[in-house]
């Protein structure tokens, strides 16, 4: 179904003088333009990546040696809690929403998101939520420190969380409303705003993965909101949901939390798959293998089919390997590792050994950092030339890649050994037998953290002109066979597809026709 009429009315064209962005700072505050809002999301996510990253550096510095060196245990626990919350809700999720804002209308031939005013509000609610959360760093009792999972009864004790708890709960509410608004917008845009000739099975896989992610968001964010609401009333309004004395059960919280928490990891990984499935075929110069089965596989979250497909693409042969492709290849290899350690955890008797150890920390960081984070980097290298019209510095890009890819393994691989040897997570001090691998891990962490400054440099440099090389509309050879955005000028104009495109590329869905 098409949302836009093909021809403009004359009186409508007259209004065009009014359609440029507002001037100055106000432009960014009141904008309804999907590209502006996408940029806001991406820049905010990048800033939060460094805020959350700084917290990770503090954690690794404290763990460099046994004993307490730099921070007291309560602050250490605040850092692990806040690092998780900031990275999940402030960096990874918003970064993918930023990509969705930029790319979905471009890829499906829509003039903007379906509900542009609500799109603006989604972004500002995100900022408000993160600010409310970050404000707890300045409370005398400190930021939340019971872990990002907020398990009762720990989170309900007076001392553990202190005054931060209601702020954290309301921050979750705001972030939840923001995510739900964003998801509703994405669903309405994809269903209602596609170019007239674009069928659902013609959509780029990135659009498909985001559609499925949006449904997940609407289905689980209210669950998280409900869970933390009950924590709030248990703490302040005398309810007994998680209090056995009153007939409740603290384990109920864990059920509800993970009803949200498990889909949450798919929320962070499905758009990752979508971006990888966009980049790899362009660089492999091949149509995406098994498009329709990919759509169904993503829909049923049968991600083994994804790994099989990705491996297939990996060995097909890749004539060019720019930085986006390098990050994508690293993702395919390293995410598989995270997947395998995940399988180990699914073996219930063995999991008793791993539970709450550094093995778990290693596992989920392998699924998040070399997967979601690497693919977000890849997406930056892949689309920045399109968005800005400038080429990034390939040499520094590749340096960034190799430093990141090596140091991320130095950082997280030893944590498997630590965990199997019995080192618990969320602890600022440890027994001396864990010292060597912790030191290796911290060194990897510091290199990884410092390497990301290269990415920041590249983003700023590219926006300001990059190599000075003018990029073509396609940027990447034959990219316009894969999806619509590469048929637009580089940089893309402020308003695009005010009249929808009549032809849509089908290279990426070759096998489904």
């Amino acid at each position: 179904m098409s949302a836009v009429v093909a021809e403009h009315d004359d009186h409508h064209a007259d209004e065009h003088h009014d359609h440029g962005p507002a001037k100055g700072l106000l432009r960014w505050i009141i904008t309804t333009n999907h590209k502006d809002i996408g940029t806001l999301y991406l820049l905010f996510a990048l800033a939060m990546f460094f805020v959350g990253g700084t917290m990770a550096m503090i954690i690794r510095a404290e763990l460099f040696e046994p004993g307490l060196q730099f921070v007291d245990p309560a602050f250490f626990n605040s850092m692990t809690t806040m690092h998780a919350l900031v990275m999940v809700f402030g960096a990874v999720m918003p970064a993918f929403v930023g990509l969705a804002n930029w790319q979905i209308p471009l890829m499906i031939g829509a003039p903007d998101m379906a509900l542009p005013r609500m799109n603006n509000m989604s972004f500002w609610l995100l900022v408000a939520g993160v600010l409310l959360l970050a404000s707890t760093l300045f409370l005398e009792t400190g930021a939340p420190n019971a872990g990002w999972t907020f398990y009762p009864p720990l989170v309900l004790q007076p001392i553990t969380v202190g005054k931060a708890m209601p702020f954290a709960v309301f921050a979750v509410h705001l972030l939840g409303i923001s995510s739900i608004m964003g998801a509703i917008n994405i669903i309405a845009t994809i269903f209602n705003m596609r170019a007239p000739t674009m069928k659902m099975m013609d959509m780029p896989l990135f659009v498909w993965t985001w559609l499925i992610t949006a449904f997940l968001l609407i289905a689980v964010m209210p669950v998280f909101a409900g869970a933390v609401t009950m924590l709030l009333t248990d703490k302040f309004f005398h309810t007994s949901f998680f209090n056995a004395a009153g007939g409740g059960d603290p384990v109920l919280y864990q059920h509800i939390f993970w009803f949200f928490g498990h889909p949450e990891v798919y929320i962070m990984i499905l758009p990752t798959f979508g971006v990888a499935s966009t980049i790899i075929p362009v660089f492999a110069r091949k149509p995406l293998f098994g498009y329709s089965s990919m759509v169904w596989a993503t829909g049923s979250i049968a991600f083994f089919s994804f790994i099989v497909w990705a491996h297939h693409m990996f060995t097909v042969g890749m004539p060019i390997a720019g930085t986006p492709m390098l990050f994508s290849i690293a993702f395919v290899v390293l995410f598989t590792m995270g997947g395998f350690t995940g399988l180990m955890m699914a073996i219930a008797p063995a999991d008793f050994q791993y539970h709450d150890t550094y093995f778990i920390v290693a596992h989920f960081h392998y699924t998040l950092v070399p997967a979601s984070i690497f693919i977000l980097m890849a997406a930056g290298y892949f689309w920045l030339p399109k968005w800005t019209g400038h080429m990034y510095n390939e040499k520094i890009g590749q340096l960034h890649f190799w430093l990141s890819a090596i140091s991320v393994n130095v950082l997280f691989f030893p944590q498997h050994f630590l965990g199997l040897a019995g080192m618990p997570r969320r602890i600022p001090d440890y027994a001396v037998q864990f010292a060597d691998w912790n030191m290796v891990s911290s060194i990897g962490g510091f290199i990884f953290g410092a390497s990301q400054l290269l990415f920041l440099y590249i983003v700023i440099d590219t926006i300001k002109g990059g190599t000075g090389e003018k990029v073509t509309n396609e940027v990447w050879e034959d990219a316009s066979k894969h999806s619509l955005e590469w048929t637009l000028p580089s940089p893309v104009p402020y308003h695009t597809w005010t009249t929808p495109p009549l032809l849509v590329p089908t290279e990426h869905v070759l096998d489904s026709h």
């Binding site: 309804t32 509000m121 917008n185 309405a188 056995a244 007939g247 109920l252």
Partner: protein
């Protein structure tokens, strides 16, 4: 049906950031109040709420104006309907959490507390029955709420309001403005009557039955479920009041009345949740 204009893309939206500022001010004030601030906290809450309400009035006035001047074509209407539909879906999930909590508590955690090692070693005197305020007798002795007094009356009221709402919709479609206004007025009146009876019910619970939010897990689930529902009835009744006001001003046409539809969907959603409450909270 289509007004033959392109998909309307609004520019320069000021209300979203104002609403966000109001909301975060209100919540920051509430958090401070919970932490023991009795002056600054409530002041921020009130200030934030005022800003939030101003935003609602301003934003909806703007939307109503744009709709009445024909700026929305058929496809914009579809986007709005999808938005409302998935918003209601998210609300259903939110209520499902509390229904799920009630189910888990009654069928799993309470029986566990009253059986096996838990009973033998910890609470030998505790009988796992429903309603319960747990082995700790949290909140003291209380009387559970019966289904056949005010709750049953409220069921009849809410079901009738669903009928009057549909009757108003038929009036709108048949260009019978009088029927539209009468139907909406009846619906709004029944909605507020429901809220009033629920207030009586709560008052009786607190003052005569010893039943409070603190009455163990029965009080927790009872007031959480009925309280959130009552809040949604208030919101729905306010939305319907606005639709009534707009109908009286001559807004809406048989082919263009998204606000009416959205309000009606929301009202039916509130209605269905109540039926779930009546069965699972009061009756069983």
């Amino acid at each position: 049906m289509s007004t033959n204009v392109a998909y309307y893309i609004p520019h320069k939206a000021t209300w979203p950031v104002i609403g966000t500022a109001g909301l975060v001010t209100m919540l920051a004030g509430f958090a401070n109040y919970l932490n023991g601030s009795s002056s600054v906290g409530p002041a921020f809450m009130v200030a934030g709420l005022v800003v939030f309400v101003i935003m609602l009035v301003g934003w909806f006035t703007l939307q109503a104006h744009e709709s009445e001047t024909g700026m929305y074509n058929h496809d914009v209407g579809i986007s709005y309907r999808m938005g409302m539909m998935w918003f209601i879906f998210s609300e259903i999930v939110f209520f499902a959490v509390f229904f799920g909590t009630l189910w888990y508590t009654r069928n799993l955690s309470v029986p566990w507390l009253g059986s096996g090692a838990t009973k033998e070693l910890l609470h030998s005197a505790y009988e796992a029955t429903w309603p319960t305020n747990g082995p700790g007798n949290v909140g003291g002795k209380f009387e559970p709420m019966s289904a056949w007094g005010l709750p049953f009356l409220n069921t009849l009221i809410l079901l009738s309001s669903g009928v009057s709402c549909t009757w108003a919709h038929h009036g709108l479609l048949a260009k019978n403005r009088d029927q539209l206004i009468k139907g909406l007025a009846i619906t709004v009146a029944l909605g507020f009557l429901f809220v009033m009876f629920q207030a009586f019910e709560y008052h009786e619970a607190y003052t005569e039955m010893g039943l409070t939010l603190g009455s163990g897990v029965y009080g927790s689930t009872f007031f959480m479920l009925t309280g959130f529902h009552g809040f949604h009835v208030c919101v729905g009744a306010i939305i319907l009041s606005v639709v009534l006001f707009r109908s009286w001003k001559g807004h809406f046409k048989p082919e263009n009345h998204f606000a009416f539809e959205a309000a009606a969907w929301y009202w039916h959603f509130v209605d269905v949740v109540w039926l779930g409450l009546f069965v699972f909270v009061y009756l069983l």
